[in-house]
Symmetry: C2
């Protein structure tokens, strides 16, 4: 499904270069379950943003479903993203003026789903992440972990083939975190490819493999016995 | 240092009441090291915002250093907060247009510290949280965990007597998280009172005691053998 060849992302700040990602090579098969681990600032989110077609690498090639992403224009990129990928941002990125239900409905609006069905699917997703009593709350009227769970529910709205979750349990207690992982585990069993960034080992252990990143480079790949 | 008597915080949304905190009673001595734990949405941040004089409770009394906080006006509240309390927000709350160093200098500007000394203290604090190479980066040019560490450095700038840290390690790998806890541990040894919200047991074990919150109520207090 995914092939990265020598992907680099180097930020230029005045005269200084900040290598966020250097020469990343990675192949991910359909239906695989991968964890990305590494110290703070090592390049995990940068890698996720390239994988999610949200950021353009400085150099290197990225093939998604055999398409060369570097050759796509903005419209094609956006349509692949909306149809195929569910993204959970490390900073949640909820729209502040929409309540929890409407934030979850957003991908369904882009996909042209009718209003009544959108409501039903959004409420079901909010219930699955334990937020049925909070559908009408604005993001500012939710706790940190509740906002994170709205972001998770939103990423699942369009039945994506690929889920990219950047630290999906960072603000959650272990019980809420395990409930989210159960959702990811069952989606993976049904064939959804999942890539999750985490710094918690007990979360990474749900995956088939972990890659460890250090200073922008993929240092090693660890296969889990499951 | 801190006495809470029957503190409640009840949000009203239209006709619905959302009890975020109910009848919280708590005493914290000077120099104590307390962890606050509980599920997502249980009221931890609400309690921290009351303790940090950032939010007014619906009912109940709060005495800080023997002063009745409920009777203070905004100017007195702000001056107690700036002089006495270092607050690490769950959402970091960095100013987006200031670089890392300037965000850390902010409390020092309010305290009237001269420019050169501010620079030196801010750079020292950034070094202590492992960010010496990132002083000129804007928040948008930092990783999630790096932003969190800038927020931690900022909370220590004014040598506070009381540190309130809401999930200070949520976005950090365990090594970076342990480095932050080492800073808190040594500040506590020098007499600083520390209250930390966390959902990670290995973080809570640094404290003398943990309180467990469930649905807005303090359910139990656990003393740690250290
Ligand atoms: N402005 C508000 N209006 C209505 N409800 C609110 C508001 N702010 C918070 N709440 C509700 O109050 C409850 C407690 O929120 P709080 O932020 O204290 O939880 P928390 O324990 O910090 O959770 P987390 O671990 O997820 O950060 C939550 O269920 C939340 O939905
Ligand atoms: N826009 C930018 N300009 C300059 N440097 C940047 C920019 N964005 C990120 N960086 C730097 O690139 C490095 C990698 O950032 P990235 O967000 O990928 O790290 P991360 O592994 O996700 O960290 P964390 O676990 O703390 O979230 C960081 O050191 C950061 O300072
Ligand atoms: Mg990150
Ligand atoms: Mg909170």
């Amino acid at each position: 499904l995914i092939v990265l060849k020598k992907i680099s992302k180097i930020y230029k700040m005045g005269k200084v270069e900040v290598p966020a990602l250097v020469d990343a090579d990675l192949q991910i098969k359909k239906g695989e379950y991968l964890a990305i681990m590494g110290p703070s600032g090592s390049g995990k989110s940068t890698l996720m943003n390239v994988l999610g077609c949200l950021d353009v690498p400085t150099s290197g090639e990225y093939y998604l479903d055999s398409k060369d992403v570097g050759k796509l224009n903005d419209v094609e990129m956006a349509s692949i993203r909306n149809q195929m990928i569910g993204f959970v941002f490390q900073t949640f990125n909820l729209l502040p003026r929409l309540n929890a239900r409407k934030n979850v409905e957003l991908p369904l609006i882009y996909a042209g789903v009718k209003r009544q069905e959108r409501h039903i699917r959004a409420d079901k997703l909010l219930e699955s992440v334990g937020l049925s009593g909070r559908a009408e709350h604005l993001p500012s009227e939710l706790s940190g972990g509740e906002r994170q769970r709205v972001a998770i529910a939103r990423s699942l709205a369009n039945d994506p083939h690929l889920i990219l979750a950047d630290e999906p349990t960072g603000n959650l207690d272990s019980k809420s975190g395990e409930e989210i992982m159960k959702i990811f585990d069952s989606l993976n069993k049904s064939g959804v490819t999942i890539i999750v960034v985490t710094h918690e080992n007990f979360i990474a252990e749900h995956a088939d493999k972990s890659i460890h990143i250090l200073d922008g480079r993929i240092e090693r790949i660890e296969v889990h016995k499951k």
